[in-house]
Symmetry: C2
Subunit: 191 residues, 2 copies
């Protein structure tokens, strides 16, 4: 998606070895107009799939997921990051390793809000090693719901999360795919 | 706001002594249509004030704040919850005591995203003892920005946060004001 790539090129900040900061429009300050255009692109890419629920992970997936849920006219559910001690019979949970923060957390979704009758489209801001997305897929599978696929704002294709999950047959659509990035050479997008 | 009060009455779950769970439409599963109507009501209540930025706190304020930012056509910024060790010269920060989780955290906003030229409308899901809102007001004041006011989805008026902050001259508009609640007697709204 050209509009997103342009914003990443203009405002993205590469922090070696593999962090891309997009705080000015995607995950600290949020440009809602951009998010709405991203949502339209997700809808185009996943049409004509039936979708009954949008699933994301707090906190930086919430705003994009809300824009997508509005377009589909369905509820959005965000998985909460909690401690394993918060897990009980009323929730689905999955352990996720955060490479950014170098620690494990538990993603938690109430069983009330995803059921086997749901068609779930996962939306998230980043896909790199795939840990967060794997956790969300795990929760959809625990619920025996139908997984429509995953819509990702920015995928770093030089990390292998996307490739591994696509091999499992999961439909993943990423709006900007970063093939390589460095402070000196800048950002190269995959076409 | 009648629509919100009806949803709280129908789906809200009172957990003694003072927790109200609204997970089915406001802070775990999200009803975007309801949020958009709430945003319209906030805009009506704060008109004709000039607003250049919406400020909220992750995670459950993000979706409502996004709806409000869309209506005003301005960026939304969410304060991140972090550790004091993440505080440095490039951010504003404020210590907030969470009564829900019985621990302190630090709300952090990059100095880049709120400046003295901004007219900031704070949006949040709950107002009870006022700790979170005080922290956000503190950040706006550190930035020497103009504080338009605070729009709150649900205020518990039997706790004193709202009264204390209004005494300081802060304009607070809450869409549902809970005067009392209990498992047996249900929820009473302030008129």
């Amino acid at each position: 998606m050209q509009l997103l790539e342009e914003r990443i090129r203009k405002e993205g900040e590469v922090i070696p070895p593999d962090i891309l900061k997009v705080s000015s429009f995607l995950n600290h300050q949020i440009d809602i107009g951009l998010l709405d255009k991203m949502a339209e692109e997700f809808k185009r890419l996943f049409d004509p799939a039936k979708v009954t629920k949008i699933l994301t992970l707090e906190a930086s997936g919430i705003a994009i997921a809300a824009s997508v849920a509005r377009l589909y006219g369905v509820p959005m559910v965000f998985a909460k990051k909690g401690k394993t001690s918060n897990v009980n019979d009323s929730v689905y949970s999955s352990q996720i390793w955060s490479f950014t923060h170098n620690k494990e957390y538990t993603a938690i979704v109430s069983k009330k809000f995803i059921t086997k009758d749901d068609f779930v489209l996962i939306i998230d801001d980043f896909l790199a090693n795939g840990a967060a997305l794997k956790g969300l897929v795990d929760i959809v599978q625990q619920a025996q719901a139908n997984l429509v696929g995953a819509g990702i704002a920015i995928e770093k294709t030089f990390q292998d999360g996307g490739a591994n999950l696509r091999k499992q047959g999961i439909k993943i659509e990423s709006l900007a795919m970063i093939e390589s990035m460095s402070v000196d050479a800048g950002i190269t997008f995959k076409r």
